[in-house]
């Protein structure tokens, strides 16, 4: 005999598919963004420096480390390991990105966000802060959705969604 201790809500069916899509999109974007930056550490540091927010030595560490953080988060999202926690970390990172781009815009800097490699100063009038922030807000929404509903299909994640899991007693 067996009895479920919790049942799967019917809506979770649809939600889990939305979560799957959100997880894959967010993971792919992070992996690509990190991958494009990791190949050129000097550019990556230059992109960080262009924000004029960090002292020189810290800009080096962030320029070198951030692409790897993005790759790590991207891989975790794509495999679906600990989705809720990873999505929360992604959301924090995206909020920092949005704040950095907004601060560059507010200070009247003319820079490329360097989100997918490149970066640095551009000619006045060649900035795309609105689009960059909009894209990051879109990604932030995906991350927040995943924090709310981490359960999705095709994952290695067995733990982050315990409240929905149907466990059978022996």
């Amino acid at each position: 005999m067996s009895a479920p201790i919790a049942t799967t809500p019917r809506l979770a069916g649809l939600a889990s598919w939305i979560s799957t899509a959100a997880r894959l999109v967010l993971g792919a974007v992070f992996l690509i963004a990190g991958g494009l930056k990791v190949i050129d550490p000097q550019s990556s540091v230059a992109a960080v420096r262009a924000y004029r927010l960090l002292p020189s030595s810290l800009a080096n560490v962030v320029g070198w480390g951030l692409p790897f953080a993005e790759i790590a988060l991207g891989l975790l999202l794509l495999t679906g390991i600990a989705t809720r926690v990873v999505a929360a970390a992604s959301a924090i990172l995206l909020v920092i990105f949005i704040a950095a781009v907004a601060s560059a815009a507010a200070r009247g800097l003319s820079i490329d966000c360097g989100c997918f490699g490149g970066g640095g100063d551009v000619a006045p009038g060649q900035t795309a802060y609105g689009l960059e922030i909009l894209r990051d807000i879109g990604l932030l929404l995906l991350a927040v959705w995943l924090v709310w509903k981490p359960r999705s299909r095709f994952t290695l994640d067995r733990f982050s969604s315990a409240q929905y899991e149907t466990r059978e007693l022996p």
């Binding site: 000097q42 992109a47 480390g65 100063d121 733990f159 315990a162």
Partner: protein, 243 residues
Amino acid sequence: MSSTKNLNARERARLAADQAAARKRDQRILLSVVAAFVVVVVAGGILFQGWRTSRSPSATPSASASASPVAITNGRPIPLGSAAAPVTITLYEDFHCPHCGQFEEQFGPTITQAQESGAARVELYPMSFIDEGSVTAANAMACAAEAGFGQAYYLGLFANQNLQWSDPQLIELASKVGGSPSETFKTCVNRRAHADWVTSINAAADTNGVQQTPTMLINGKEVDIATLTPDSLKAMITDAAQK
């Protein structure tokens, strides 16, 4: 009957509690593993990039190092190529500017070819606004031009753009591109002999209204790099030579 049922219920509750505890423990382990994974990847990445930017220059571009020594004058660019060439290509670049690296990759061969065929000469303004490496590289570029291997050194700086450009790296690059790192050159690099000139180049670029790097002018006329292709650049150089 009823006592068996009670036992069953208690048994079930105990099992459920055990399971919940096990799940919690699993979750803790998983989170530790995930956090450790991220830390290891990021820390390893920082160390790896640190190594990549501080190693010796490796890429050696093929370039004629035959240019004769040139004089370095404050506010004046470095001339590279034959003084008799009909076309002058003016370049404003920072050796650490990512777009300059891409520009060099895409158009460098076309420009070098025009220099070698005597069709064009380059007037180089090595700007330095990105970081400390921009400054040391611009200074070393002046040292190399003074020593007579400016052209090869210029290509070498861009071919190894990933490096941070410490003094030893800049001196090693000289031997890599076929120049002779003489004592004069080493001293020139180590002492930042052309520090004033480097500053004067930034000021000159400012005066000339340069807003971004790379900026390219052909016979004094600014070229829109965004729409440029190697072929259209070649055509522009040919055109300019005929005027």
